[in-house]
Symmetry: C2
Subunit: 431 residues, 2 copies
Amino acid sequence: MRPKTPMPERVLILGGGFAGRTAAAALAGHGLDVTLVDQHNYHLFQPLLYQVATGELLGEVIATPLRRLLQRPSTRFRLGEVASIHLAERSVDLANGDSLSYDYLFITLGTQTNFFGNASIARHALDIKGLEAAEAARSHLFQALEHASHCQDAAEQAAWLRFVIAGGGAAGVEFGAALQETLREMLPREYPELPLSRVQVILIHGAEALLPGFASALQQHAARRLQRLGVELRLGTHVKSYDGRLVVCDSGEPIATHTLVWTAGVTAAPMMGDLEVEQGHGGRLLVDAHLRLETHPEVFVAGDLAISRAGSSWPQVAPFALQSARHAAAVLLAQHQRQPLPPPFSYQDPGSMAVLGRLDAVCQIRRWRWHGFSAWLLWLLLHIYRIIGTGNRLRTLLDWSSDYLRRNAAVQLIRGSASPTQAAQNAEPPR
Amino acid sequence: MRPKTPMPERVLILGGGFAGRTAAAALAGHGLDVTLVDQHNYHLFQPLLYQVATGELLGEVIATPLRRLLQRPSTRFRLGEVASIHLAERSVDLANGDSLSYDYLFITLGTQTNFFGNASIARHALDIKGLEAAEAARSHLFQALEHASHCQDAAEQAAWLRFVIAGGGAAGVEFGAALQETLREMLPREYPELPLSRVQVILIHGAEALLPGFASALQQHAARRLQRLGVELRLGTHVKSYDGRLVVCDSGEPIATHTLVWTAGVTAAPMMGDLEVEQGHGGRLLVDAHLRLETHPEVFVAGDLAISRAGSSWPQVAPFALQSARHAAAVLLAQHQRQPLPPPFSYQDPGSMAVLGRLDAVCQIRRWRWHGFSAWLLWLLLHIYRIIGTGNRLRTLLDWSSDYLRRNAAVQLIRGSASPTQAAQNAEPPR
């Protein structure tokens, strides 16, 4: 049965992150048939993932079901992993073999952790960029404490109590401060057999200053704050290899540890290399001032994957994802309605913040740079406001912020790894 | 360094369920060295697991870190899986090879799902008895809806939308009612492409009446209520096999489905058969009136694993676990302090309840039997009270009870299964 009205044009949005969900919201109700594809059925508020990894925050608080977000006219959700994009045929293949065709495409797939081709690090390091990865990191951290608590060998115990973080950007700094604080407050209460003095958190960073992109005074404040919390800094140092036991760096002694958390970079998925379009730094896709591929004006790229052909500086942060997706959606609607295009996209930087444990943060907005409690309070309010904006519940957030203040909401469940043989046991015939 | 005072006697508690944690609490502070061993680092409030499986409840709400519960004098926690128990040597081997010796032993390991030796059902059916199992069941249920939502083949779509539950005890009945209600309220809002009329929930039960142990009038009320909700009942029917696609029963046509949830029985872990002590129904361990093994008065069994040598009727429910653990702990302390033993254990049945979706439940306490809203309210208050008792936070529970009433806290995150190749992708060198 073919309807008598012409088929609406099909928009396919690949990825339900900040950019993808913003695009879907902007395009709904304009006579387009919008489908959002994601390999997960939830949108993730990534800026707080590091708190899931330390057990401070429940994963569910920052994960919103995409179907709940997409309850809009002519908007559909499709769970699936994107396997390949065929620009010439205007179609996308999913991993299960299904093929989806489009009139307009949004590539908003974001990035993945960059191990810089080091397969050994990729296999042994923890990665906190996705929900499952962050929850697995949490399980590993608490498992390490359990191992340490009954370890007879002193060197082995030290390796379980030594936590190494690679990367001193916002993710590494925020995670390092939160981890050190969590350990300091929880260990005396719950692991009386583990003296706090044996715990060591080491942050390794390639540059001489933490938090690239921040003002020098804030970088120095962050370094001082981390050291005061007890985090050991190794600046100007690169990790060369890790086999699950020994972190080898380009300077200094190798570090014996069972925990390396990798936050040292992101890159486009390898699939982007098959697109036959120009790629910039980190595999990002070069787009014009309207976020379009030059060769395919029906294909938009927004969020972390977009890089300016004209050389504008676009950071891989949530505000850029939102702004770029909104602009691309406006351009698409103008093209669809045969209206004149809006003025070229220009990113309005709302500022940057990084939180340094409880009650401290660094903040730079336009010309202002400051740190301390007021910066932290602003960070807290902004994040609560933003999470509520992503569809989660006010009450959950109020709960969390109060728990965060009182430090008693730690999620410390170890999942999976403790009993690898359980599933096999359950399948055995009972006696 | 050996202390000059004599070594305290060592109590080993195997399992941190209701019985194990109750025993640990009762034994702390009496000059004994108490160690609780569990394969998970959390205590689980099992009666609400079915709500984790339907996505109504966050797993973390009913899982309390054992170390937090065990902050008592001379009480330790040891994460580990029990591999074997050596009664003659008074030692327990863990799966990692460590051996723990004891003066007194508590076997409070509970039971596991009984697939009655059917390896095919064990492999393909969902099991909602543990936290990870219930969360995996939740992922599967929502994954099934996603498959159905883009399935072209009508028979295949029907198989994804047909949910079969084996077992009509409290677990199966409560899960069936909750599942049907969740689907009915969520589908029209979030899966507009899936007509509710195509969803089918079927409950298969071996006996002619649901809820064994309940009064006949309540059994009939439960059956009517489930049918009114839309659950199809197949009573007097047994599942013979399931290969992931077809449920074959001993009567009626085979049922094509991708979802079989198995709640049809529990049994002791196979390991219990190696103990060379007498086992009763379902592999439970025969104990005397003081919950001790006849041949080893230093070994106590409490909770689901205990069965009365004298033939007393002990149900596998939380109140029995609490009472039996308290009694066994009192007997142990009397033996340890060379005091006279308390009077023999006698189980005080506080009554039974089963919840039938929202706002309805069946309840029998002593001679009273009733159902409806007041029974449901009592169920709600009791469970809130009990969870708070297990150490979780008042606020979380208030949140949950209010969400439960308004039906808007559904956790519907699909974990893991959506992207089996993601980990492999991340390990690939980027371009």
